[in-house]
C-alpha cells in the first residue's frame, strides 16, 4: 500500500528539490568541519548558524529581487547601499581588534565597490538594469568584503608579529606611515591573492556562474566569456581599491596622533 503525500501548492517540485539540495550541501560542509574540529576548535559550532543565516539571507534576497524586478531602477541603489552597510557590519564583527572598524569598513567598501560600480554603470559596462546591477553589484561587494577582511586580519597579524620592528623604526624618527609600510604591503599583497587567482584561473580552473547562466539563457558563448571577464576584472579592481582606501584609513586606527603604536591583542 502506498501513502500519497500531499504537498502545499506553494511547495513546487522545483522548490522541494532545491530544499533537498541545500540540506545535502549544508550537511557536507558540516561534516567536513566535524572532521577538522581539532584543527579549528570552535568553528564547528559556528557553521550551523552561519549556514542557516546564509540560507535565510539568500532566500530573502531572492524574494526581494523577484519583487524589485518589477519596480523602479533607483531601488537597486538602495539595495546595494544596504549590502555595503551589511558587509561593513560583518567586517566589524570579524576585525574587532581595530578601533572604529565599522566606519573603516564602510568607507573602504563604499569607496572601493561603490566607485568602481558607479564608473562601470556610467560607462555602460554594467547595464543599469535591476536584474543585472543587483547580482553583479552583490558579487563585487561580497568580494571586496572578503578582501578587506583578509587585509585587516593579515595586517593585525603582521603588526602583532613585528611590533618591535615598528617601534624601533618609530624610535629612530620614522613616521607611522614609514614604520608600517612593509607590513601594510605584505597584508595588501596577501589579501589580493584570492582575487588575483580568480583572474588568473578564469576559464581554466573555473567557469563562474554568470557565464554559465548567460550561455544557458541563449547568449553567445563568446560574449558570455567576455562579460565574465568584465565581472571578474571589476571585482578585482573594486577589491584592490577597497584595500588601498582601507590601508590609508587604518593608519590612524593603529597609531595615535603622536605616532605611538596602539594595538589591541
Amino acid at each position: 500500500m502506498t501513502v500519497a503525500v500531499t504537498w502545499p501548492t506553494w511547495l513546487t517540485p522545483e522548490l522541494r528539490t532545491g530544499i533537498l539540495q541545500c540540506f545535502i550541501s549544508g550537511l557536507a560542509a558540516l561534516f567536513v568541519m566535524f572532521l577538522a574540529r581539532k584543527q579549528a576548535p570552535g568553528l564547528l559550532r559556528e557553521i550551523p548558524w552561519a549556514e542557516l543565516r546564509g540560507l535565510m539571507q539568500i532566500v530573502l534576497v531572492g524574494l526581494i529581487l523577484a519583487w524589485l524586478l518589477h519596480g523602479p531602477r533607483w531601488t537597486s541603489t538602495l539595495v546595494l547601499a544596504a549590502m555595503v552597510v551589511a558587509a561593513a557590519s560583518i567586517i566589524r564583527q570579524r576585525a574587532h581588534k581595530f578601533p572604529r572598524t565599522f566606519t573603516l569598513a564602510l568607507a573602504g567598501i563604499g569607496a572601493g565597490a561603490g566607485s568602481i560600480l558607479c564608473l562601470m554603470a556610467v560607462t555602460g559596462v554594467i547595464p543599469v538594469k535591476i536584474a543585472i546591477l543587483i547580482p553583479v553589484g552583490s558579487m563585487v561587494i561580497a568580494n571586496t568584503m572578503n578582501t578587506q577582511a583578509l587585509f585587516l586580519d593579515r595586517l593585525h597579524s603582521e603588526v602583532t608579529a613585528h611590533k618591535g620592528e615598528i617601534e624601533s623604526a618609530l624610535s629612530l624618527g620614522a613616521s607611522a606611515q614609514t614604520a608600517l609600510t612593509p607590513y601594510r604591503a605584505a597584508a595588501f599583497r596577501a589579501s589580493l591573492i584570492p582575487a588575483l587567482n580568480n583572474l588568473r584561473s578564469l576559464g581554466i580552473v573555473w567557469i563562474p556562474g554568470i557565464m554559465a547562466g548567460m550561455v544557458l539563457s541563449g547568449a553567445s558563448p563568446i560574449y558570455a566569456a567576455l562579460y565574465q571577464f568584465v565581472v571578474i576584472a571589476v571585482i578585482f579592481a573594486a577589491a584592490a581599491l577597497t584595500c588601498l582606501v582601507t590601508s590609508r584609513l587604518v593608519l590612524r586606527r593603529l597609531f595615535s596622533p603622536y605616532d605611538q603604536l596602539m594595538l589591541q591583542r
Binding site: 618591535g164 620592528e165 624601533s168 623604526a169 618609530l170 624610535s171 624618527g173 595615535s256 603622536y258 605611538q260
Partner: protein, 228 residues
C-alpha cells in the same frame, strides 16, 4: 647649556594602563639628569623601568605629569624630532630586513641625510664590525646584532641615549664586550645616558641610580647610597 643644569627632567610623571583597567604602572616619578651623566634605572621585573624609557622616547604618553628636555616640554616637540634627539636602544635588537648598512642608514635617512660609505665603514670599525656593511642583518649573531642596533641609534646623533637592558639577552662574553663598547661610546661622545639594568655591576658604573619598585621611586642617589 650649563653642564649642571638638567638635560632631562621627569616631573610627577604617572602612567596607567588604558581604561577600563587603569592600573598604575608608574606613579609620580620625579628625577633629572644632567649633561654627560649616566643614570642607571634598576628594579625588579614589572617595576616600570621599560615603561619609563618608552615615555621618555614618547612611544607611550604619560597619564599625568610632564617631561622636559633642555627645559622644553617634550610634548611641544614633533615626535620624530624628539625621538631622534632621545635615542632608544631596546633589549632585543629588532633589526630591519636587509643589510647592516641599510639598518644603520635608516635613522639619518628619515631626515634626508645620506651616510657616505666611508662614514659607514668608520662607524662599523668603531663597534668592532669592520666589513659588515653589506652583510644580511638576519645572519648576525646576538652580540653582533646588538652592536648594530646600538650603532643604528647612534647614527642619529642623539643628545641623550636610553638603553633598555641592551645586554640582558646576551651570553656572558658578549655581555661584557657590548657593555664595554657602550661605556666607551658614551664617554667618547659625552652622551647623557639613562640605562635600565638588572645588573648591580652595571648600575655601579653609573653616576646615579634610580631604583623603582611597583612603579614608584624607592631610592635615588649615588650607586653607593642606593645599592648598599
Amino acid at each position: 647649556m650649563n653642564s649642571t643644569s638638567p638635560r632631562l627632567e621627569c616631573i610627577e610623571v604617572s602612567r596607567n594602563t588604558p581604561p577600563p583597567e587603569s592600573r598604575a604602572i608608574l606613579q609620580n616619578i620625579n628625577f633629572s639628569v644632567t649633561t654627560g651623566e649616566i643614570l642607571a634605572v634598576t628594579g625588579p621585573s614589572g617595576a616600570g623601568k621599560s615603561t619609563l624609557l618608552r615615555l621618555l622616547n614618547r612611544l607611550e604618553e604619560p597619564t599625568s605629569g610632564n617631561i622636559r628636555l633642555d627645559g622644553e616640554d617634550t610634548r611641544a616637540l614633533p615626535p620624530a624630532e624628539l625621538r631622534r634627539r632621545i635615542g632608544l636602544v631596546m633589549q632585543h635588537p629588532y633589526l630591519f630586513p636587509g643589510t647592516v648598512a641599510g639598518n644603520i642608514a635608516f635613522g639619518p635617512g628619515q631626515q634626508g641625510v645620506h651616510l657616505a660609505a666611508k662614514a659607514m665603514q668608520s662607524m662599523l670599525e668603531e663597534v668592532g664590525l669592520p666589513g659588515f656593511a653589506s652583510r644580511d642583518a638576519a645572519t648576525l649573531s646576538g652580540g653582533e646584532a646588538q652592536r648594530v642596533s646600538i650603532l643604528r641609534t647612534l647614527a642619529n646623533q642623539p643628545e641623550l641615549l636610553l638603553l633598555d637592558e641592551p645586554t640582558s639577552a646576551l651570553d656572558a662574553a658578549n655581555r661584557q664586550s657590548v657593555e664595554d663598547l657602550i661605556l666607551r661610546l658614551i664617554r667618547e661622545r659625552g652622551l647623557t645616558c639613562i640605562w635600565v639594568t638588572h645588573s648591580p655591576d652595571q648600575a655601579r658604573l653609573a653616576d646615579r641610580v634610580l631604583h623603582l619598585e611597583s612603579g614608584k621611586v624607592v631610592a635615588f642617589g649615588t650607586p653607593e647610597e642606593v645599592l648598599s
